[in-house]
Amino acid sequence: MTSLLEVSGATVRKGERALLEDVSLRVAPGDFVAVVGPNGAGKTTLMRVALGLQRPDAGRVTLNGRDVGALSPRERAAFLAWLPQRVQVSEPITALEHVAAARYRFTESHRRSEEAALVALARVQAEPLASRPITELSGGEQQRVAVAALLAQEAPLVLLDEPANFLDPAQQLELYALVGQMWRSGLGVLCITHDINVLAHAMRAGSEGRIRVLGLSKGRVAFESHYDAPDLGEHLGRVFSVRMRGVEVENRRVFVGMSLERGE
């Protein structure tokens, strides 16, 4: 059974304004789809639509051919896991409890949930954090625990919503290395970001062509490309209203933005 997330022609309106217009994408296990675009381009709306948290006004979202809205939350959780921008817990529960709670979709004993949570924490090298209150961890540690929760849910597809937004460079690098590990272990990744360069940390040399990049601008799909496409810089530049050039640094392709005015 393959798990396929398909968004076709999704449109979301808020009053007169279209937050999302006729957006389509598909993510299967093993895929890496990066959705890039400036703030306000509709990235988060797209994610909420894909998660079934928001119903599109037009178009469809299906998981394995079944409408997302028709699935129970439990069924949906078996396909899709979500990593928000930051962990927001209302109480100082321990990291272990936080990860164990992600096992909600399984009918199993508490002991079994905790065992699975420990395994997930070990996979992100966060076992020493297990008994620490999550509110006392640093931002980077919190996101590592959140990734463990993502793994504990055992969904074949993961949606990442700017997961490195509040992290410093070292933590960003570490987080995206984990994302790369998840991808290589066979999960399908849909990653929303306004910083394309973080993706460089997720890939190994040679896998650039397998990362699909979808540019969003004003709610519409502006371009669809791959990370190694020669013209990706131009596409990105147009979406972000800057000039962008791809440059090689230590065998990795990164993109540098420059102001439009001082063009050659």
Partner: protein, 313 residues
């Protein structure tokens, strides 16, 4: 952690076992009657009411992610007060199906107002703060009508009404406990089955939904079951102050925030806390029916403040 749990449970058991013997000395010839017909039924009532109220408080605090949430937040108390007032003005001595009219009316009022809020909670795009707001609005509306009813009451009725709102453990026989018990049991058992979902709620509603929790169903079930239990308690005892607020916070401070500890322990600690308060009420004004609501606040507040002010270990 485990030691703390054992100590806390032992203290609770001790309180409950000793409580019926606390109070003015019992004359030998009336000893059996006082113990078996007065004190033990009251202790049982305190157990049921204290446990239910505390659990509902703990559940609401988890559900609303708000440490100040309580049954009064969603209008339960205001509804009960309105019902009781109407019954008092109409004639408190009347009875329906063997129930005093005040009890029946308070129950209907409490459940009525809370179910209105639960109905709003069923909406798709409703946020938790909207519910708190709706609860406050309904409370104010019920309060306004209550004031109107009070305005038309005479002074004897007003005194009865005032006594009622202080919260008391009535001198009830076993029959009333048997009537309240199924209501409380449905509420407590039902709410405890939601523990796992409420654990997931800690990291936010949308996140919980993405992890497989049917947020709307959990919201409605929590509010509905909570309102049922509180309506039952308030119907017999009036609004007993602070139990539902203080007990979960005490448990949280001593045993931690983990839902699977907090919720069941709130039942146990709440039950024995109210038993203790009832025993204390017997001592401070011997021979008088001291409203237990007075003691819960007087005893619970310093304890809570001590726990809050103490530096976390």
């Amino acid at each position: 952690m485990r030691t703390r749990l054992v100590v806390m449970l032992a203290v609770c058991a001790l309180v409950v076992a000793v409580a019926p013997f606390i109070g003015p000395p019992m004359p030998p010839h009336a000893r059996d009657f006082i113990l078996w017909q007065l004190r033990i039924p009251r202790t049982l009532m305190a157990l049921v009411v204290g446990g239910t109220l505390s659990l509902v408080g703990a559940v609401y605090q988890s559900l609303f992610s708000n440490p100040l949430a309580a049954p009064s937040t969603i209008g339960t108390t205001a509804g009960a007060t309105l019902g009781a007032l109407v019954a008092i003005v109409l004639g408190a001595r009347a009875a329906m199906w063997g129930l005093p009219l005040i009890t029946a009316a308070a129950f209907a009022g409490a459940l009525g107002v809370s179910l209105l809020v639960a109905a709003i909670a069923a909406g798709r795009n409703v946020r938790m703060n909207d519910l708190v707001l709706a609860g406050i609005a309904f409370s104010m509306a019920a309060g306004a009508i209550s004031t109107g009813v009070q305005f038309s009451a005479d002074s004897a009725e007003l005194l009865t009404a005032m006594r009622w709102t202080m919260g008391h453990l009535p001198q009830v026989g076993y029959q009333n406990i048997v009537m309240l018990l199924p209501i409380a049991a449905v509420s407590v058992v039902g709410l405890l089955t939601l523990t796992r979902a409420l654990e997931v709620f800690i990291s936010g509603e949308e996140h919980a939904e993405s992890q497989g929790v049917n947020v709307r169903a959990v919201r409605m079930a929590s509010i509905g079951l909570g309102a049922l239990g509180v309506a039952g308690c308030v119907a017999w005892c009036g609004p007993i102050a602070f139990v539902e607020l203080i007990v979960p916070h005490i448990v949280r401070r001593v045993l931690g925030v983990s839902r699977r500890v907090l919720l069941p322990c709130s039942v146990v600690v709440g039950a024995s806390f109210l038993v203790l308060c009832d025993a204390v009420a017997r001592i401070i004004f011997p021979g008088k029916e001291t409203p237990v609501g007075l003691v819960t606040a007087a005893l619970g507040t310093p304890l809570l403040i001590y726990l809050v002010a103490r530096k976390p270990s």
